[in-house]
Amino acid sequence: MLKDITLGQYFPGDTPAHRLDPRTKILLVILYIAALFSAKGPATYGAMILTLFVCVRISRVKARALFRGLRPVVVIILFTGILNLFFTPGAYLFQWGPLHISDAGIRLAVSMVLRIMLLIMGTFLLTYTTSPIRLTDGLERLLNPLKKLRVPVHELAMMMSIALRFIPTLIEETDKIMSAQKARGADFESGNLFRRAKAMLPILVPLFISAFRRADELAVAMECRCYHGGEGRTKLHVLRFAARDYWTLAFGCAITAAVMTLAHFGY
């Protein structure tokens, strides 16, 4: 059923990772990415793998879930690996006709593949341990200073959280519309790409119209509950840093600095 799609794969729990402030986690991911992209050799990549391993343990993610998170990018990983393996110039180790594998090629392929995998798994941990609402709250707080530059931070955050809230509702509605059109003989399975695209019209048109109607009604409902923009708004849950957030961020900075320094020296 369409209903089984869960975006971002948030898994409720009470691990130390779950208890961190979402802002901490977002900042950690940024530090992680910075470190990851500076990593050069076995030492630095090793450090990144170790870091990820520790984070995975703290979040108590199951290995299976973690690797399932890689599924959408399997093609990219393979593609990158193969491309780098066979088409990197350098001292040839093996050669079969037009294809050749160089020492540099092996190293590049491995590091590129590792980079992608570590990147995906790291950000997966973020969405695994942070609910979409907390994530949006965290982002909103972090981006708040941008308000001075006239960036509509509150509006963007509101749009994101409303979109997230309506995803399951719209999926349900798509299901219903599909059933109704199938009941009139619509065929969504057979035919070439063009035919199938055309067959989506009886679903997309009602869905869009319904989405606009919902938006209209929701806007009125929000105004009736005194919504008047971000000015003067308070929040039920106020994000507050705790000691563990400061410590974790400190660690994160330290590791990133270490990795970047080591990488600078070619490790």
């Binding site: 959280s161 809230r165 399951p168 509702t169 919902r214």
Partner: protein
């Protein structure tokens, strides 16, 4: 008694679809006064203007003629807009299209957050509102997984969290199954009785109006009838001519009266009706 909402010669015409066309008049001079603490049901067929009327009560629609006063505040006064909307809350027909957040407590907190209420106070109001509608155990649930009746109760909680003086339900039970309708009605009746919140119930289900203090019947943009349920429901022919029905009990009593049986027309509840009919049958 204090007046919650008052309309004076209220007119509303929907704007024309095209340039230079004429709009559709929906309200043609409505004079109504809703007392604080009362439970008023507004009935009428689709197109009678009842929904339009509801929307003028908290300035969703502004009068094109006449006035609407909420506790003395004119709804056209822009500076009083937030105050008016805090005093008169509204619950709409589609349960899904009023829910803003992913988590029940966040949704109920929406109104107080908008009003700048301090966080501890928001917490207190959210918990209080959920208790008032009997949904406390769902505080951290995802709203989209709830039934229609439960969603509407969350919507009501979201309105109560503003601490309004009046709640308007604009066909809020139209999309619910009988169980859901009962949940919602029981909730608003309790709020009316125990907290003195004024309730205006817009509906086309006759049976929902039976327990109201007062019924206002709208027809063609005007008030056609205004009185206690016992008075209004007995005007069977008039109601039928307006495309409305009467409860089965009243229909039975009316039919018996046509045949000369001496039964009162206002014994609306099942028990009262049975008692009246039994007495009449035995009296012969």
């Amino acid at each position: 008694m204090a007046v919650m909402i008052e309309t004076k010669n209220l007119e509303y015409t929907y704007p024309a679809a095209e340039e230079g066309g004429t709009g559709t008049p929906a309200l043609r001079g409505v004079n109504l006064s809703v007392e604080k603490g009362s439970f008023v049901a507004v009935l009428g067929h689709n197109g009678s203007g009842k929904s339009t009327l509801a929307k003028t009560f908290n300035a969703v629609l502004l009068p094109t003629g006449g006035q609407v006063l909420v506790e003395g505040m004119d709804t056209r006064d822009e500076e009083k807009l937030l105050a008016i909307r805090q005093r008169v809350g509204m619950v709409f027909q589609n349960p899904d299209n009023q829910i803003v957040a992913n988590v029940v407590e966040e949704d109920v907190a929406f109104a107080p957050e908008n009003l700048g209420v301090p966080p501890e106070e928001i917490r207190r109001r959210v918990d209080g509102a959920l208790a008032d509608v009997g949904m406390s155990e769902f505080v951290r649930h995802a709203p989209h997984l709830l039934s229609g009746g439960q969603k509407q109760r969350i919507a009501i909680a979201g309105v109560i969290a503003m601490e309004p003086a009046c709640i308007v339900l604009d066909e809020a039970t139209a999309m619910l199954d009988p169980a859901g309708r009962q949940e919602v009605l029981a909730t608003v009746h309790r709020l009316n009785r125990e907290k003195g919140i004024t309730v205006v119930l817009i509906t086309h289900h006759m049976d929902e109006a039976e327990d109201a203090d007062r019924i206002v019947v709208m027809d063609d943009g005007k008030v056609a009838m205004d009185g206690a349920p016992g008075e209004v429901f007995t005007r069977v022919e008039e109601l039928r001519s307006m495309g409305l029905t009467v409860p089965d009990t009243v229909a039975l009593l009316y039919a018996l009266r046509q045949e000369g049986v001496d039964v009162p027309l206002d014994a609306m509840s099942v028990e009262a009706c049975a008692a009246a009919v039994a007495a009449a049958v035995r009296a012969e």
